[in-house]
């Protein structure tokens, strides 16, 4: 994909800075609600920074531009992370940050297509994204539209049968315009994913389903960039998946060390502290 349609200003900021900004916005939104899926947002920030500031083609002033790469957020509860990157990308105005999860907001706690510019689908009932992505990839091919479809999903969604129906279909239809991103934080609602319904060996599983599969450290920006590049440039006629091993709460060490759960507990007075800790690590 070209990056022509993005403004030069976007490309001049380092990805590390983008990721830092995304984390900062997410923390500020968490503070607004007093809680939120902050562990997920901090963990996936590097993947989102790379997606929106390295890989995807889109127009900030026209989120429905026909030529855009489609980015599907299957995991509705990760909306806080996507709102952060949509603000960073200029698709949502920064001022709306303080409305996150509030009555009348365009940014509900669980992401919905009808509420938010740049939110392609209504997620939240988990296990929908990849199937919709297969249909969009088929549709784009029918229209001779060269855009990619990205689907961001979680390790928890690997438990849903619908995921594997779609995986088989994507390979069957040779959807080389489909890129699935799996945030493997080894966490779901009741505990660690690998201890609940283990999906390992995961890379081999996707390969056996006919996908070009990579697995990288999702908090190592260089590795993330490299994986996106390989996924986009691979010449095989098959869909691509990148499994990102991520650390929940990444970037705020005192939260990283806390007992990690699906809904990471942050006390009222800790948001400011978390922001301060993050600020200390601001990239040059």
């Amino acid at each position: 994909m070209t990056i022509d349609s993005r403004s030069a200003a976007l490309t001049n900021t380092s990805l590390a800075m983008r990721a830092w900004n995304i984390r900062r916005k997410a923390l500020m939104m968490g503070e607004v609600q007093g809680q939120g899926y902050i562990g997920q947002a901090l963990g996936v920030a590097d993947v989102l920074a790379t997606a929106y500031f390295h890989a995807l083609d889109y127009r900030s002033d026209d989120p429905e531009w026909e030529g855009r790469d489609r980015f599907l957020l299957s995991i509705g509860h990760y909306a806080i992370a996507l709102y952060s990157v949509l603000m960073e990308a200029g698709i949502l105005p920064d001022e709306e940050l303080e409305t996150y999860g509030m009555d009348d907001s365009r940014m509900p706690m669980s992401g919905m297509a009808s509420y938010t510019p740049g939110m392609e689908i209504t997620g939240g009932s988990l296990g929908h994204g990849l199937g919709i992505a297969v249909g969009m990839a088929l549709g784009l091919k029918r229209k001779n539209n060269p855009a990619f479809v990205y689907n961001l999903m979680s390790d928890g969604e690997l438990g849903e049968g619908s995921t594997w129906e779609a995986a088989m279909s994507g390979a069957h239809h040779k959807l080389d315009n489909l890129i699935c991103l799996v945030d493997f934080n080894d966490q779901q609602a009741d505990g660690k994913s690998t201890e609940m319904l283990c999906s390992e060996p995961l890379t081999e599983k996707w390969e056996a389903f006919g996908w070009f599969a990579q697995r990288v450290d999702g908090n190592d920006l260089a590795a993330v960039v490299d994986a996106f590049d390989r996924a986009r440039s691979c010449s095989d006629a098959r869909p691509r998946v990148i499994i990102f091993d991520t650390t929940m709460c990444k970037g705020v060490p005192f939260l990283e060390r806390r007992e990690i759960t699906h809904f990471v507990r942050v006390e009222a007075d800790e948001w400011a502290k978390a922001l301060a800790v993050l600020d200390e690590g601001k990239p040059a």
Binding site: E95, D103, T122, E160, A189
Partner: protein, 345 residues
């Protein structure tokens, strides 16, 4: 808030002043049951009690043990607790399989995921075979502000249409504690809505000798002007509204129908036939296919024709937001129930 969220993303930016904003998450666990004492995790504790007496009972969940109070059972009886992962179709199929081998499985998830995703698996593997699988689901009707993905506004309509199913919509902790042993004693499939976490104790405050009885509607409060026939948390709302209306001299009777199927039409018809009272149904569910329509049909069939109104959710995908805001917006709050009844007198 507007009812038409479809237009929202194109609406000009609207930032409510900080002082007036209401957050979604702060309200999620709270049903805003002012003035009632609460009981912690009544389902989990009742299941542990029952399982001590019956070793056939097992518990299965699809990554929502903590969010359906089944984790209480899991902690007490880890070897009888099956974590199936986030796979609701499998949850229901596997529960059916265990029932075939002689066990009594309690399968838990959120109401939306049982009613929508796993429906065919419940219909064919469980209901058609009349197996004793007990499906217990949190977040019934409008009890979360997360939007349609989590709001089970039509679960009762879906399961009412399914032969062999018994349906329970408990009002409070007493109903939940009472229903568990009766679900076990009944030998077929049951779908029960669940309130979890800190659950208010409502019915015994209004009627100290109240006991849940499967298949039976019970009068909780007498009154000569209005008869409210209600289920689930709407019985709590109706009782609270009745107190407000009593202060204005309007006497409201409340008939609580926690069993939606089979519906206790004998009691309902007898009460509705007592002449002169406006009959109002109240349910935490779409007005399509739930308690209201079931009562209306039943009364028509028996030739009873009182003045009749329904309180329930509209035929729409609902908004996201704070639960108290949404209950007000869709007519489920005490204020709105009171207002609606008053406007019909």
């Amino acid at each position: 808030m507007t009812l038409a969220s479809m237009a929202r993303k194109y609406e000009p930016r609207k930032v409510t002043p900080a002082s007036e904003r209401v957050a979604t998450s702060a309200m999620i666990a709270s049903l805003a049951a002012e003035g009632y004492e609460t009981v912690s995790a009544p389902f989990g504790h009742a299941l542990v009690d029952a399982a001590r007496k019956n070793d056939k009972i097992v518990g299965l969940t699809a990554d929502l043990g903590k969010y359906t109070d089944l984790h209480i059972f899991g902690q007490e009886m880890p070897d009888r607790y099956y974590q199936m992962g986030m796979a609701e179709q499998l949850l229901m199929s596997a529960a059916a399989g265990m029932a075939r081998e002689g066990f009594i499985p309690f399968a838990t998830t959120y109401a939306v995921f049982a009613a929508r995703r796993a429906y065919d698996f419940i219909a064919m593997a469980i209901a058609e075979e009349n197996l004793p699988v007990k499906i217990v689901c949190a977040l019934p009707g409008l009890t979360t502000g997360y939007g349609p993905s989590h709001q089970a506004t039509e679960d009762l309509a879906i399961f009412r249409g399914l032969p062999n199913m018994v349906l329970i919509d408990p009002c409070d902790a007493d109903d939940i504690t009472g229903m568990v042993p009766q679900m076990i004693a009944y030998e077929g499939p049951v779908y029960a809505r669940l309130l979890r976490g800190k659950v208010p104790s409502v019915l015994r405050r209004h009627k100290p000798d109240y006991k849940f009885q499967l298949g039976m509607a019970q009068m909780i409060r007498e009154g000569n002007d209005v008869l409210v026939i209600s289920t689930g948390i709407m019985t709590m709302r109706a009782l609270d509204a009745a107190e407000v209306l009593a202060a204005d001299g309007v006497e409201v009777a409340v008939l609580h129908c926690p069993t939606i199927k089979p519906l206790d039409l004998d009691t309902i018809a007898a009460e509705a036939a007592k002449g002169g009272r406006l009959v109002v149904t109240a349910e935490n569910h779409t007005v399509i296919g739930g308690l209201g329509e079931a009562v209306a049909t039943g009364l028509m069939m028996r030739g009873i024709h009182p003045a009749f109104r329904m309180i329930g959710l509209p035929d729409a995908f609902l908004e996201a937001g704070a639960l108290p805001t949404l209950h007000d917006m869709y007519g489920l709050s005490v204020d709105k129930v009171t207002e609606q009844i008053r406007s019909w007198l």
